[in-house]
């Protein structure tokens, strides 16, 4: 059976499973559509949150970014997990006690202002749409590979599948489907990692293997990796090279953004009790940590495997021959990935070999001149292909490769579905029912929810064709936007009675606009290529890259809100009472209708 057929079988079987569950648990009323009737156990909820949360960025993209940069990209690991501490301590229990369905409802009620609710909805839509662009990038890579078509064709097919999938059910369908997706994606991520860790270090646990000794040479794996990459002129893997200030800000942005993303926060509305909301955040992180503790091992081990693959005789010996790549089954993955347009090589000096090295390094330029090399001949290695190509690179059995294809799609689909749900509920529930037409029928509300989904996915697909970065980088921008707009409003709403309606609105707008403008200045206006005035290599403000600005945006939000609130009327007593009741678990009802 060819690999193509195996991939199709795995992907097809996993899809049949999710759709089967979605039909079985189809949403009936609107309240079920949004919050699953509040009957979800914390462990189940944690698992579904993990699937919702771990997207194409975590599954497909992150390990690749770590692999090619090393220590400096640990920011993704710390940032995307540290946010759960903020969620658990600062938001989840209180929002559950408040007991409504959406984030913007809380903001609208707490700041006693339809304007605040409207601004929150806009913030949610901007952040979620950016997030979906990142997902579509990942969907394009995954579909391109498993259907063996170009990246663009993969993206278009993927968009249709995501849409059909998201329209199927509401949260309830999605909750149980996402449990299934979690199982598929975590198996798909860890099984190849275990195989590879055993091959390289003899340790079945990748997180321990990463700090273990290499089976072939007996020296520590990371020391070996450091040595081999520096011999090719690349940065030492375990060392710090980038800007420290930017690294801190970036990590902080990801953390705050995690606690400000609507599709994750919405999850905590669906647990039965306030105490369960606290446990839920912990369980979510347990399931997330299984992948996040494995990811750095996947990255380092893949980097080692890839480098050795191009230098089978060591960095002093001959590089891999073009003929070997074209004929040796071990190199077959390169031919399949070449079809997607995301991997490319070129024998520039015509010596029949592919030299992979850092041609920007002065030492390597000297060595290249000596050996007659005329530049790095691995001309394109898209970071987003690393995880999906990893089992093929390590020569693992066909079923593992099929499983990884299914897992990558599960990750991208589950998050895209969760985000589309957040966008559609923001538009239909908050925007149309909450502001434009309060008398809309349930049917009309569901219909407008689906139209909003279709529009969001069309925009994301269009921008996904020319994404502002690799999947995880685009997603990081979405986190920056959420960090600058939503999180501060929620936190101040719970922890300060002083912040009033005007303060909150001014804060959210200031945070959102400064961050959005900063991002557009560096990534192009509305992410249209070549409309940027600055680059992340040479940013506008100090060393702060566009992906790191969210933390500054959040600080602006807090400062403006406090400043404006100090100059305007105090919060009315009934709102102070509301805040005080939110702080105490007792009296949290079950689902509250409107």
């Amino acid at each position: 059976m060819s690999q193509f057929v195996i991939n199709l079988l795995f992907v097809g079987a996993s899809f049949a499973l999710y759709i089967g569950i979605a039909i079985w648990a189809r949403a009936g009323s609107t309240s079920e559509f949004y919050a699953a009737g509040r009957g979800v156990h914390p462990v189940t909820n944690g698992m579904a949150t993990a699937a919702d949360w771990m997207s194409a960025a975590s599954f497909i993209s992150m390990a690749g970014l770590i692999a090619f940069v090393g220590y400096d990209n640990s920011t993704y690991l710390m940032g995307w997990t540290g946010g759960y501490v903020l969620l658990a301590l600062l938001l989840a229990p209180y929002l559950r006690k408040f007991g409504k369905f959406t984030v913007s409802e809380f903001i609208g009620d707490r700041f006693y202002s339809p304007t605040a609710r409207l601004v929150a909805v806009i913030c949610l839509i901007v952040a979620s749409t950016t997030y979906v662009i990142g997902q579509m990038t990942g969907v394009g890579v995954a579909f391109g590979r498993f259907l063996e078509v170009s990246n663009t064709a993969g993206l278009l097919i993927g968009a249709c599948v995501v849409f059909a999938y998201a329209v199927f059910g509401g949260m309830k369908g999605v909750t149980y489907t996402q449990v299934a997706q979690y199982v598929v994606l975590i198996l798909a991520y860890t099984i190849p990692a275990i195989f590879i860790s055993l091959q390289l270090t003899g340790n079945p646990i990748p997180a321990l293997g990463l700090f273990g000794d290499s089976v072939s040479s007996g020296e520590p794996l990371l020391a070996k990796l450091d040595q081999i990459v520096t011999e090719l002129g690349f940065n030492e893997y375990t060392a710090h090279h980038g800007d420290t200030f930017n690294m801190v800000l970036f990590t902080l942005s990801l953390m705050i953004g995690t606690a400000g993303l609507p599709h994750v926060i919405m999850r905590f509305f669906t647990v039965p009790k306030v105490s369960d909301a606290r446990w839920s955040a912990g369980w979510a992180l347990v399931f997330i940590a299984l992948l996040y503790l494995t990811a750095p091992a996947v990255g380092a081990m893949a980097r080692l495997n890839i480098t050795e693959m191009f230098w089978p005789n060591g960095t002093d010996g001959d590089a891999v021959a073009v003929q070997t790549i074209e004929t040796d089954p071990e190199y077959n993955w390169m031919l399949t990935w070449q079809k997607t347009g995301l991997l490319g090589w070129e024998d520039k000096n015509g010596d029949g070999m592919i030299q992979y090295y850092n041609d920007a390094s002065p030492e390597m330029q000297a060595k290249a001149a000596e050996n007659g090399w005329v530049g790095n001949e691995l001309t394109n290695f898209n970071r987003d292909i690393l995880v999906l190509a990893n089992p093929e690179i390590a020569n693992l059995p066909g079923w593992v490769i099929g499983l990884v294809a299914a897992g990558g799609l599960a990750a991208a689909l589950s998050t895209a579905a969760g985000l589309l749900l957040a966008i559609s509920s923001a538009v239909s529930h908050d925007l149309i029912k909450g502001a434009i037409n309060p008398n809309i029928s349930e049917k009309g509300e569901l219909l407008s929810a689906r139209i909003a989904m279709a529009v969001a996915i069309a925009v994301a697909t269009y921008l996904g064709l020319n994404p502002p970065g690799f999947a995880a980088q685009t997603v990081a921008l979405a986190f920056g936007l959420a960090a600058a707009s939503i999180f501060p409003a929620l936190m101040m709403g719970i922890f300060s009675t002083r912040i009033n309606n005007v303060g909150a609105v001014a804060g959210m707008l200031a945070g959102l606009i400064t961050t959005l403008v900063y991002i557009f200045l560096h990534k192009g206006w509305f992410f249209i290529p070549d409309t940027n005035s600055f680059t992340d290599a040479d940013p506008l403000f100090l060393t702060v890259q566009s992906t790191s600005f969210g933390a500054i945006g959040a600080a602006i939000n807090f400062a403006v809100a406090y400043g404006v609130a100090g100059m305007t009327k105090e919060t009315p007593p009934e709102i102070v009472e509301l805040v005080e009741s939110v702080r105490v678990p007792r009296g949290a009802g079950s689902a509250q209708a409107h």
Binding site: G82, G282, G587
Partner: protein, 84 residues
């Protein structure tokens, strides 16, 4: 706000403050800023800071959340504000 519920909230804020100190010191301190000073402590081919940045911080976050949930649920009962 009654004294009772005020005391409950103050206890909660204290717990949150100390938890957030650990939340900040481990990744930003040990994982990034203090890493050069901890270079001497080696962990399997790298150093402590590298391990914290790629593994340790995540484990600490997990411990923090479960610790907080456990303490808060107990605090709820002590102050009689838990859900019945």
């Amino acid at each position: 706000m009654s004294d009772e519920s005020n005391a409950y909230w103050q206890a909660n804020i204290r717990l949150i403050k100390w938890s957030l100190v650990i939340w900040a010191v481990v990744p930003f301190g040990f994982g990034i800023l203090l890493r050069p000073f901890l270079k001497g402590i080696s962990v399997g081919g790298a150093d402590l800071g590298f391990w914290v940045a790629q593994q340790g911080a995540i484990l600490v976050f997990l411990a923090l959340i479960f610790f907080y949930a456990f303490r808060m649920n107990k605090l709820d009962r002590d102050f009689g504000v838990d859900e019945q």
